[in-house]
């Protein structure tokens, strides 16, 4: 037997966390059972690093944990009041930037933006609301696209590109006008080859992409985040997608 591949470690909030080369701080933390808040990250896809909720302090310097490779002996601070306050501010920014009317949204209770806000104890969006004019696209027979709720995590972009091989989604515009676009000359989702069975139809952390005729199926009280915090739910998810240990 050779040397264990997991003989390198970092510390996160005082805990010694093993990692293998190539793992990010986020990978190592999640594998160990430490939750780092995140919205644009999904371990099934290439890391993105845009929401910045997962920023941690590494040896006193802030770094994006979902994209930063773990390096031997990093001292990481994650669950600190200061970082959680800053993360709350980021969630508040996302809330005021779009039109997030939770009581009128099918995704309420299953929405990661909302759940992250609960986790970070957000009582109000705090900042001045933008109330932007955004498009709702119901042209597709099976799927709604409501840009009011898009937080530009690009998970649908990545899923459609990496898994579905379709490139149904992309990003255009710049700055505050950055927005999701779909792969058709008309700009309508109904004119693309998007299908409800696509991976990209099931990765939206908010209610921007919704499968039609599924709304409010789960009663209030039994939805994903009604009982469980996003930290618990996302740790369970990691367990599910963990590869089986290799016997060979």
């Amino acid at each position: 037997m050779g040397a264990s591949p997991m003989n390198k470690t970092i510390t996160i909030d005082g805990k010694t966390v093993p990692f293998v080369d190539g793992q990010t701080i986020m990978d190592a933390a999640m594998a160990f059972g430490i939750y780092i808040p995140h919205l644009c990250h999904n371990p099934e896809f290439e890391p993105h690093g845009s929401c910045k909720l997962c920023v941690v302090s590494v040896n006193g310097r802030n770094m994006t944990s979902c994209t930063m490779p773990a390096v031997e002996d990093m001292v990481v601070a994650n669950d600190t009041p200061e970082l959680n306050d800053d993360r709350k501010a980021l969630v508040q920014m996302l809330f005021v930037e779009g039109n997030h009317i939770c009581p009128a949204c099918e995704a309420s209770g299953n929405c990661q933006l909302q759940a992250a806000a609960y986790y970070l104890n957000m009582l109000s969006p705090h900042f001045t609301h933008f109330y932007p004019q955004r498009k709702v696209d119901a042209s597709h027979p099976d799927i709604f696209l409501d840009l009011n709720r898009c937080i530009l995590c690009e998970l649908c972009v990545r899923a459609s590109r990496e898994v579905d091989g379709k490139n149904v989604f992309g990003i255009s515009g710049r700055g505050i006008d950055t927005h999701l676009v779909v792969n058709s000359a008309s700009g309508r989702l109904g004119d693309t080859n998007f299908a409800a069975t696509d991976k990209a139809a099931h990765v939206c952390p908010t209610g921007a992409i919704l499968i039609k005729r599924q709304g409010y199926k789960i009663p209030i009280g039994q939805r994903t985040f009604d009982r469980k915090k996003i930290s618990e739910v996302q740790m369970e998810l990691i367990e599910q997608i963990k590869p089986e240990p290799d016997d060979g």
């Binding site: 994006t64 800053d86 501010a89 900042f127 515009g173 710049r174 505050i176």
Partner: protein, 597 residues
């Protein structure tokens, strides 16, 4: 289906495709040509380009939607963009733009009904020493005044092609006021390369090390370390990139270097190629300097013809290196090296996640060095005259000279080259800055200093700068200056990360509120809070520095905002009475209940 306005788009685009080939890295260059031909990027063209390059349509739409100089909607046969830098503002550009709009019955930002002309604002065009400035279809207009705008309006009305407009409108001067080692006696083309070849790649790199040369783009990373990192990185090819995306408002020294010292810059790139074993270089030229393109290409052609570029440079078998000029299209963020590389690849200029760094994974994931224009000019001088010679100038941590772009309130704006370590006071004396109150060093992303700090020195250890030096005399409204910068960052944020995309907008709104006299002490706290979030949580340097002017003002210029604050703890985020105006108009009401104090 919508009616197709360009049924024969394929035919129309054929010559553009012919010119650029099928590499996806040509996307941005193709889009620029389409913009020039059609005055916008028609949706049919987006589809057609996607097909031609084998890209998803969303990628083409994504790139076209990112850059300010590309427009997905008709922008008029003549598109006038007034430079919105604070120096242009101080020289009266907002009033001139209004004058121009009134003259042509235009609404700012909207194209005329006959689709002939539109007028809007754009970030600093780099003509701060000869403003007010503007661009017409990408060509720079300088020294604007009402007479010139009358003439321009007339030329537009009579649909005169821009190539036939009087050259005086487009005159751009170098305005070199103080020259030192870079801008002094010209180096004969080839001399530096010869010296590098005689010395060899290893020794040349050691000279760079000895020189202590640090990047002139502002961050000041050791050039030798960058070069050796790239050199040591394995790859299919190594690339040399010259960053001429001089977007920092108030900076214009690269424009002068490229206009009059391009050989020195290309020489530096070629020496870099020798050191790093590169065969291919790019000059990323900001869209605002598009007017320099033909001149630069002719210099490159001359260098090829004289054996200074191309195959077997100076007769050395196997020393092959060539340089391609790649145009930007109006995006400050592309000055960030990884965003620049994305843009070189034809994509949206979005800064990458780092690591990996460009030295190992740059252009198409190959080892790439990105250096500032001035850095390459310095490298050429070092190759010719030695590292020790260079290190003897300046200060211990900042060797050599620095070219400053001086503008604002002074008698002699222009280009000044000093050895590092020069004090602000000395500079102000030289350029005729009298009764100066504040200086913005290094542009909005730099540092705003007050008259109390004029003893400080230009150097990496004290006042690092990419070169902008913007002067404000006593009586200038610093809050208006900061407001201009806050608008700049909000406009230029790439939109990728939450803190910068949203934070720059929120910051802009609060500074506007203060400038309108509705700020309160709680707004000051909010600005500090936003500044903290942007500085510590953002993805790249743009977000990290976007709060600098605001925080410097809060710290050093209380007089600029205190008298404008309301003597209340809280004031609504918006003007209540104005928010009733629409409903008053609709209902025709003007009674006391239709108003709020």
């Amino acid at each position: 289906m919508e009616p197709c306005e360009f049924p024969d788009i394929e035919q129309q685009l054929a010559p553009i495709f012919e010119r650029h080939g099928r590499e996806s890295s040509r996307l941005l260059q193709i889009l620029l040509d389409v913009q020039e031909a059609f005055h916008f990027i028609p949706p049919e063209a987006v589809t057609c380009i996607a097909g031609h390059l084998g890209l998803p349509r969303v990628s083409v739409e994504g790139a076209a939607g990112f850059y300010s100089f590309l427009s997905l909607k008709p922008a008029g046969e003549y598109r006038i963009l007034f430079s919105d830098n604070v120096t242009d503002q101080m020289l009266g550009n907002p009033e001139l733009m209004q004058y121009f709009c009134n003259k042509l019955w235009l609404e700012p930002g909207k194209v005329s009904e006959d689709n002939l002309v539109s007028a809007d604002r754009t970030s600093c065009t780099g003509m701060c020493d000869q403003g007010p400035a503007a661009l017409v279809n990408g060509w720079p207009l300088t020294n604007l005044d009402q007479d010139r705008l009358d003439l321009i309006a007339e030329l537009i009305r009579s649909k005169e092609p821009i190539s036939r407009w009087p050259p005086i409108l487009f005159e751009v001067k170098d305005n070199i006021r103080r020259a030192d080692v870079l801008l002094g006696d010209a180096l004969e083309p080839g001399v530096a390369i010869k010296a590098a070849l005689e010395r060899g790649a290893d020794a040349t790199l050691r000279e760079m090390e000895t020189s202590g040369l640090r990047g002139r783009g502002g961050a000041g990373f050791s050039t030798a370390r960058k070069w050796s990192g790239c050199r040591a990185s394995p790859g299919l090819a190594h690339y040399i990139v010259c960053n001429a995306d001089e977007g920092e408002p108030g900076t214009f020294k690269d424009r002068v270097l490229l206009n009059s010292y391009a050989d020195l810059v290309f020489e530096g790139m070629t020496i870099g190629a020798k050191v790093m074993g590169s065969a291919k270089g790019f000059l990323y030229l900001r869209g605002e300097y598009r007017y320099l393109l033909e001149r630069l290409e002719s210099i490159l052609a001359r260098r090829r013809a004289t054996g200074l570029l191309g195959r077997d440079i100076l007769g050395v078998t196997g020393f092959d290196f060539d340089i391609e000029v790649h145009l930007g299209a109006g995006a400050y963020i592309c000055g960030e090296e990884s965003a620049l590389i994305e843009s070189l690849e034809g994509k949206r200029g979005r800064p990458r996640n780092r690591p990996p760094f460009p030295a190992a994974h740059g252009y198409f994931h190959q080892p790439t060095v990105v250096n500032n224009v001035e850095t390459f000019a310095c490298a050429a001088r070092i190759a010719a005259q030695g590292g020790k010679w260079f290190a003897a100038m300046g200060t211990r941590q900042s060797s050599g000279s620095k070219i400053l772009s001086i503008s604002g309130d002074c008698a002699r704006p222009g280009i000044y080259e000093y050895p590092f370590g020069v004090s602000v006071k000395e500079i102000l004396d030289d350029c005729g800055g009298e009764d100066v109150y504040a200086v913005q060093i290094g542009g909005p992303s730099g540092i705003l200093i007050s008259w109390k700090e004029f003893g400080r020195c230009i150097s990496f250890e004290d006042l690092p700068t990419a070169g902008a030096f913007t002067i404000f005399k006593r009586g200038r409204d610093i809050l208006q200056v900061v407001r201009n910068y806050a608008h700049f960052f909000a406009h230029e944020s790439c939109g990728f990360c939450t803190p910068c995309r949203v934070g720059t907008q929120l910051q802009k709104k609060i500074v506007d509120k203060m400038a309108n006299g509705n700020g309160t002490s709680s707004n000051l706290e909010e600005l500090k809070h936003l500044g903290h979030i942007m500085r510590t949580m953002s993805h790249c340097g743009l977000g990290h520095t976007a709060a600098n002017p605001v925080l410097d003002m809060l710290d050093k210029f209380p007089g600029a905002y205190e008298k404008k604050l309301k003597n209340l703890a809280f004031e609504p985020a918006f003007d209540l009475d104005s928010a009733l105006e629409t409903a008053r108009k609709i209902s025709g009401r003007d009674d006391p209940w239709a108003h709020l104090p």
